[in-house]
Structures are given as structure tokens and as C-alpha cells.
């Protein structure tokens, strides 16, 4: 009666069998920011069998307003988010099976995760990574639970292979401009509701209740107190490269290497290294010392200031350029540093 998961097994649609299924499920959470930390905590508390957690970022003070696993000390130490998250999650549940990646998501990693997961949780902050999740999940025949939020609003939808239109059908062209946490801000309750509805959908799938899952895209706005549930039948594209008759899963083939991304909510530009010439922490330290005089080195990154920007080089060769205004500026700085 008073076991750890007693209140969950008492809920009829979960029950003992559902709880066992939760304990045997492996869930990949892509991103460990606001949505990812909330989702990870909920799933670990709920007794999830295995959590695969990927994030490229570290904890900053401006995260603490809405990212629930992190503390001031984590921000002071600039801990990678997945490292800080794992520590807290193990305090919550010592026997939790957690695997982490401090990396940018790319095709090969996403396929590796999809191949080992019961489903994928979307906790990323950009459309490009969602298209990557979409391709990997559809190719491997597992659901992914889309979630996104900004301001006081959010969107949730479970994409189930073969059941519905896919994310590419929904968003065939990426928007030219788009409200982000950077431009429009976000209130914590919008995060919590998005993450919670995502987790409810995941629990339905995992516990063998797929019929209870949403069939319409759920949009809510906590400030105007409105919601819309929108069907996706008409927009399903028979020629879709992901869910159509002859899928090619184009995102999985895109080489992320050498690319740049302006990061949502970070006021920063990220440069990925060419795989043929990754910059090591040692190399970064010597370049940083030469240019900036002083560098900070942790087990995870090298930080220094140059060109009026704060630069952080990670162990996987990624360079974050804080304050950079454009991808072009970011590339220019990267080349001035490393040729």
C-alpha cells in the first residue's frame, strides 16, 4: 500500500502492470533545459527504467528561473546540464539508470538513441533538431512526444508512426522569424504544463493505453486561458520524405559538422567542428592563453574572453560564442581563433 509507487499503481489505467512497464521502459530526452529537466524529474520519480539524456549546454544563472533540476551552485560551477541533472536525479532515486551525452544532437546519435528507446521526448529548443527527432523516430518506428513553449503558451503532440501526419507535414517550411524565449521570454508555468502533458502522453504509450493518447495538436495559452485542439488529418502529405510512401529521412543524412546555430534563449552562437579537425581542450587552452592571457579550465570546457565575447570550448570541440549577434560573426571568430 505505501510502496514508492503506490499512488501510481492505484490509478487504474496504470495499475501494477503499467508500473512494471514503466520500470522496463527506456526514454530518450533530447535537451535538458526547461522542458528536459522537468520531464526527466517526472519520469525518474515515476519509476522509468532507463533515462537517456542529451544536452550540449551548461547551467547558467538565467536558467534557474525555470529549469527545475538546477541550483545556484550548478550555475557557479558552470556544470554541463546533463551532469547537474544526473546528480540531482540520483539523489531523488538512487537506483535510477541514467545515461548522459554532453553533445550536439546529430543524425547518428539520434538513430543510436531511437534504436534503444521506447519513445523519444522532445525537449529541444529549435525546429532543426525536431526534424531530426522526427526522422529518427519514424524510421525506427517509435513515437516521439513533441513539446514546445514560449511566453505563456505551449504546444504538445504525440507523433505515433503510422497513426498521424508527422512533424514535417505540420511544418513543411521552417519559419523565417519565430518567437523564442530570447525574444518573447517565458513564464515557468508554461514550461510545467507543456512538460506535464508530454509526460502524460508518454505514460499512456508506455503503460499500454495508446487509445487514450491525443489525436489533435494541443495548443494552450495560460495568460489568455484559451486552448485549441487541432486535427492533422488533412495536412498529412502522402509524398512526405519522412512519413510518406517512400521515406528518405533526409535529416539523418545532413552532416551537422562545421555548421553554426544561433541558440535559443542563450544570446549565443555555436560552431560545430569539422570532424576531421576537432579542437581539443588542450589546443583550446593554449590558443586561449595566447589570445586572452587567462583561461578557466574545468573537466568539461575551456572558457576565455576574446574579441569582446565570452568563449566556451567543449570537450567535443564545439565552441559557444556568448553575445555574438549572428552566425557570420560566430564563424569569423572561430576562424580567427583556430584558422
Amino acid at each position: 500500500m505505501d510502496g514508492r509507487y503506490s499512488r501510481q499503481t492505484l490509478f487504474n489505467p496504470v495499475g501494477e502492470a503499467g508500473q512494471q512497464a514503466i520500470g522496463e521502459a527506456a526514454v530518450a530526452v533530447i535537451g535538458c533545459g526547461a522542458l528536459g529537466s522537468a520531464i526527466s524529474e517526472t519520469l525518474v520519480r515515476a519509476g522509468i527504467g532507463e533515462l537517456l539524456l542529451i544536452d550540449r549546454d551548461y547551467v547558467e544563472l538565467s536558467n534557474l528561473q525555470r529549469q527545475q533540476l538546477f541550483t545556484e551552485e550548478d550555475a557557479r560551477q558552470m556544470l554541463p546540464k546533463v551532469v547537474a541533472a544526473e546528480r540531482r536525479l540520483l539523489d531523488i532515486r538512487r537506483d535510477a539508470n541514467i545515461r548522459t551525452w554532453i553533445r550536439n544532437a546529430d543524425g547518428p546519435l539520434m538513430e543510436e538513441l531511437a534504436g534503444q528507446s521506447t519513445l523519444i521526448m522532445d525537449a529541444t529548443d529549435n525546429f532543426e533538431t525536431r526534424l531530426l527527432i522526427n526522422d529518427a523516430a519514424m524510421k525506427h518506428g517509435i513515437p516521439w512526444i513533441h513539446g514546445a513553449c514560449v511566453g505563456s503558451s505551449g504546444t504538445v503532440f504525440p507523433f505515433v508512426p503510422g497513426q498521424t501526419a508527422c512533424f514535417r507535414c505540420l511544418l513543411p517550411v521552417l519559419p523565417a522569424v519565430n518567437a523564442t524565449c530570447d525574444t518573447s521570454g517565458i513564464i515557468p508555468p508554461a514550461v510545467s504544463v507543456t512538460a506535464a502533458i508530454q509526460c502524460a502522453e508518454a505514460m499512456k504509450w508506455i503503460t499500454g493505453n495508446p487509445d487514450a493518447m491525443r489525436t489533435k495538436v494541443h495548443h494552450f495559452d495560460l495568460w489568455s486561458n484559451e486552448q485549441l485542439d487541432i486535427g492533422v488529418s488533412r495536412i498529412r502529405n502522402a509524398g512526405c520524405e519522412t512519413c510518406g510512401e517512400s521515406p528518405s529521412y533526409p535529416e539523418l543524412k545532413v552532416r551537422a559538422a562545421g555548421s553554426t546555430a544561433v541558440l535559443c534563449g542563450r544570446n549565443a552562437v555555436q560552431i560545430l567542428p569539422e570532424p576531421s579537425r576537432p579542437i581539443t581542450l588542450d589546443a583550446g587552452e593554449s590558443v586561449g592563453k595566447r589570445i586572452a592571457g587567462h583561461v578557466r579550465r574545468t573537466p568539461y570546457f575551456i572558457e576565455f574572453h576574446a574579441f569582446d565575447r565570452r568563449l566556451v570550448l567543449f570537450g567535443d570541440g564545439r565552441l559557444l560564442i556568448h553575445g555574438a549577434k549572428s552566425a557570420d560573426e560566430g564563424k569569423s571568430i572561430y576562424h580567427r581563433l583556430f584558422g
Binding site: 528536459g36 529548443d125 514546445a148 505563456s152 503558451s153 505540420l170 495548443h219 484559451e226 492533422v232
Partner: protein, 77 residues
């Protein structure tokens, strides 16, 4: 008449949550043109239009009494 709903952030641009307009018989693509004339920039944000709670295609035609909602895409997380 068609009822137009402006959801979440798109309201910052329209300045109103909803309105009615005499657009029956027009297509969704024509509705976009009407909206761009009235609210320049509304289309750049990549919003989708749903008609009667179903995402619509550009050639779908609006019928009398339909509700068309402009829903901006959300990318944060």
C-alpha cells in the same frame, strides 16, 4: 462571415484576440493575402491556419460561419 482567431503570440501583431470578416468563399491562401494586407509581417512568423479545428491546406475554401485560427509555431524548450 468568418470568425478569425489569433492565438497566443500572434496577438501582439494583430492587437486583438479575434474578429469577424466577410471572407466566405475565399481560399485559405486568399485569407493569408487578406491578413498580410491588414497585418504586415503576419505570415513571416510561419503561423498555420486551422479551419474549424483542423489544420487547413492553401486551397481549402472557407464556408459561411467557419472559424479560422492563426496559430504561431512554438520553438522554445
Amino acid at each position: 462571415m468568418i470568425k478569425l482567431l489569433y492565438f497566443a503570440g500572434i496577438r501582439d501583431l494583430t492587437g486583438r484576440p479575434s474578429e469577424e470578416a466577410d471572407l466566405s468563399g475565399r481560399t485559405v491562401e486568399e485569407l493569408w493575402k487578406w491578413a498580410e494586407d491588414k497585418y504586415p509581417g503576419i505570415r513571416e512568423g510561419g503561423a498555420r491556419i486551422a479551419v474549424n479545428e483542423e489544420y487547413a491546406l492553401p486551397d481549402d475554401r472557407l464556408g459561411e460561419g467557419d472559424t479560422a485560427a492563426f496559430i504561431p509555431p512554438v520553438s522554445g524548450g
